[in-house]
Subunit: 258 residues, 2 copies
């Protein structure tokens, strides 16, 4: 809709992969160097990019500033912090906080494992919908019709032997998640990692975010992982309370309508 802005944002995205020269950048958006230069200058004046040496541009500090400021604004993140940190400290495993927005699941917080073998992830990163425990938890709470649309639009690339590759099977899995109140990723995303996730609920009873715990299989087998289920659920409950959730609701709040 706005050409110059569109081009500028493309440049910024490009810079996220590392510093680039003016020529490289003008090549990416296919414009004259002078045009790219002017865009970069404007970006620079807002501290979105900065020069590195004379020939290179890279992302500026405003990106970090704005992103982290906005991240702090998220109420769930702040409210869940304590519970998540405790879980991480207690178990030593990687703990993630993820949220569903604009048709994608993104990690909004992360407490890294103290173990040498770690899952690769990053705050701001999108989680695959079909093979992560957090996505299952978040999608399970979507209204029936919305869920259909999302699942219809989903891809199911087979990433490991256990990856669910069939929409019907996935919907059945979500059903299970809804009933149980937690989700599992039994090495469906990465061969050597399995995860557990549980919903964090707000005052209205609906799911605001998901907490997950990721453990390398070499550290803990599946039964060992499940041994931490209560701990995870307790963490999710504590975080939910911080978010205004009250246990004593009309029965449909925590464990479905049974």
């Amino acid at each position: 809709m706005s050409q110059s802005l569109d081009r500028a944002l493309t440049l910024v995205a490009q810079l996220a992969t590392g510093p680039k020269t003016l020529d490289e950048l003008s090549g990416v958006i296919d414009v004259h160097k002078s045009t790219a230069l002017r865009l970069l200058r404007t970006l620079e004046s807002h501290r979105f990019v900065q020069r590195e040496g004379v020939h290179h541009y890279r992302l500026g500090t405003a990106m970090f500033d704005l992103a982290n400021r906005a991240l702090e604004e998220r109420d769930v993140r702040r409210s869940a912090e304590r519970a998540l940190r405790d879980l991480n400290a207690r178990t030593g495993f990687t703990v993630h906080l993820a949220s569903y927005e604009a048709d994608e699941v993104i990690y909004i917080d992360k407490y890294d494992s103290t173990h040498p073998v770690r899952m690769y992830s990053r705050v701001g990163r999108r989680a695959p919908l079909h093979c992560t425990a957090v996505a299952k938890v978040l999608l399970a709470d979507l209204p029936e019709t919305r869920l259909r649309e999302v699942v219809d639009a989903m891809e199911f690339p087979k990433l490991t032997a256990n990856t669910i590759t069939d929409p019907a099977a996935y919907l059945a899995e979500l059903e299970l998640v809804r009933d149980r109140g937690y989700a599992v990723d039994d090495s469906e995303h990465e061969d050597f990692i399995h995860c557990l996730a549980a919903p964090i609920r707000g005052a209205g009873g609906d799911v605001l975010a998901a907490v997950s715990m990721s453990v390398p299989k070499v550290v803990l087998d599946f039964d060992g992982l499940m041994g931490h289920l209560e701990d995870l659920l307790e963490t999710a409950r504590a975080a939910s309370v911080e978010c205004g959730w009250t246990d004593t609701r009309e029965g449909r709040a925590v464990r479905g309508q049974d």
Copy 2:
């Protein structure tokens, strides 16, 4: 230089303070609603903003994604991670990693305190130059002429009773920092907090970043803080080694030219 881009970036910065309506946003950049709408749509297509409800816009997930991806690119951050995490785990105090770029000192990493009383900070935030320990460490390494320019352009707002408000005194302080190999913020920024900072050096021996440790005065008095100096210096040394620094240099590397 580029009007529409300039306006769009202003919008983004505005959104970092929280969700806004179309009217509020068009007011900020003083254009017609339709103009703001078109900019927002472009930003939305790049996932820089997203709609919240029908009447509100807020920062989108691309911001988090790009910012954190770029943050991971920083070698110092990755290299220093282990040492910083250890220090944080060992002491329980807030540990910061800060870097000097484009004439400002920004926090590029943070390990939060486990104590209830905590310093407010945020990754991406700019640290004041005249009253923080990290800034002192980073500025102390600047070449003489560059340093002059920076200090001449600096402001010295008095934030506490101990804040250094005089450029000459500040330069003398930096001299001290250079000699000692560490910097102190003795409640110069906030009344109830004091900090220690030390430089992290790279292969060339020059300062890449600064580690700091921030402690509430109610938890530890000044002598108590200084009791952790060796621990902090050891952390900085470990991080430096990870960054390619080698102890056995020409003598000027770690403790000045004595």
